[in-house]
Symmetry: C2
Subunit: 250 residues, 2 copies
DNA sequence: GAGTGGTCTAGACCACGAC
DNA sequence: TCGTGGTCTAGACCACTCT
């Protein structure tokens, strides 16, 4: 499975290129090279670390596989800008929407601050030594061509997302992940989505213009930044009849 | 995502290692090395093709990424045995079942021969020059601890699966893919599953001991052999409330 | 033309597995 | 001990991108 190597979490202290990959990853996480920027060239890196070109290339290959780096022939090796677009829609097929059509619009229904639940403290790795850790909780509705399609609950840890707590929700962008990057310096690198089946309660149904009890698909997402920290919890609900997902099995 | 390179379908005539990978893949498809067997060693291959070791290694890496080969340090490089186990269950979480418990049992409810639909002819690439191409269609129920859980419709093309057409369904194994290999020489290498939401009709509901109209998840699978041919179409239905699937997003 | 990553070579030595 | 794949070296030349 090309499933993932999270280098920092694995026993890659074995080989030289594994150690190099960890070292380079650390330099990226520390912000020495920012998302979208090129890192040093292979030859420079090889020289500065005192190893052969092929060894550096193996290290870079690991980071490319992890999605941290992207290589462009003739240009350089770049730090990935992270997830963008509207990846949540990959789970649904709504009539009147395809890849080429206008992107969905989004509307923040509510926003508030509250104390973290135990589960959130655990997921976010918040330290509760001093004061009880806080989170921002949002309700968000995403529409395609004026029709409400997805209802989301989003939880963001403080103080990391402090800049957003003070912003009027009218000013929030339609796309959250690029906004996280710009406002908070948080680059979402990957996510884990857990899908299950449920039914809409009365409030949820009203938001989506469906009947109470209508079948829905529930997507529970954990999103992670460059350093591998979980920095967003999100639950998304959409009409089960619009659900369509394709998976490659091997 | 490490999404897939199907070498034979891509423009890999460019590099030497791409061509080598195609050549090796062809030798495997032709049966020179069978699933589970080791291929020649790297050094032998490099020698016989007159290239450097590193070049052969790049070619092998492509085939490993495609799931055709598996490398074992100190032992050799082996032709993959293909998919096995019970991959369909990865979409469901049934109470009383986990990875370590007993595998599900299966029961063939019916089996018949019929002419291919236009869609099946297209999927299987059957040639209808001479006689109308035939398929085997099965209904199959999979149970966990005496409780029926999954209802499947399976379509297999003739003449490829001819040996199965003449077997009593009592003799069919619980695991189909290993049986395809043994009886028909067909090695299932990968599959594409398309998931959607539906509701059980009366007949289906009765089989699964659920109410008519009960929500279900529908899995439509196309399974492919070593040569990349589609050789099985399968639709699986299971209780939507037991549906649970986790996907990595990048 | 200069700089980047991509391909390829011809070696060396290491780590694992089987005998 | 031997054969396997895994790591690493120190080069060469090619292909792409920008100026």
């Amino acid at each position: 499975m090309s499933t993932l190597n999270y280098l920092s979490h694995r026993t890659l202290g074995q080989s030289q290129y594994g150690k190099l990959a960890m070292a380079l990853r650390e330099r990226i996480v520390q912000g020495e090279w920012k998302p979208g920027e090129p890192i040093s060239s292979e030859s420079l890196l090889a020289q500065s670390y005192g190893v052969a070109l092929g060894t550096i290339r193996q290290a870079l290959a690991l980071l490319v596989e992890d999605g941290v780096l992207q290589r462009r022939h003739g240009k350089g090796t770049f730090v990935s800008k992270g997830m963008s677009g509207t990846p949540m829609l990959r789970f649904f097929r709504f009539s009147g929407f395809d890849e080429s059509s206008e992107p969905p619009s989004s509307h923040i229904l509510s926003s508030r601050l509250r104390s973290s639940s135990a589960q959130e403290i655990s997921a976010f790795g918040q330290n509760s030594h001093n004061s009880p850790p806080q989170v921002i909780q949002l309700e968000r509705l995403r529409s395609i061509g004026q029709v409400p399609r997805l209802l989301e609950t989003i939880v963001l840890p403080l103080p990391l997302f402090g800049p957003l707590a003070e912003m009027s929700t009218d000013l929030w962008d339609d796309q959250l992940y690029p906004m996280y990057q710009v406002r908070c310096g948080v680059s979402i690198q990957h996510a884990q989505d857990s899908l299950s089946f449920s039914q809409l309660n009365g409030t949820q149904a009203k938001r989506l213009h469906l009947a109470s009890g209508h079948p829905c698909v529930l997507v529970e997402r954990q999103a992670f930044d460059l350093a591998g920290r979980c920095v967003e919890l999100r639950t998304t609900r959409g009409d089960a009849h619009s659900f369509r997902y394709t998976a490659q099995v091997r």
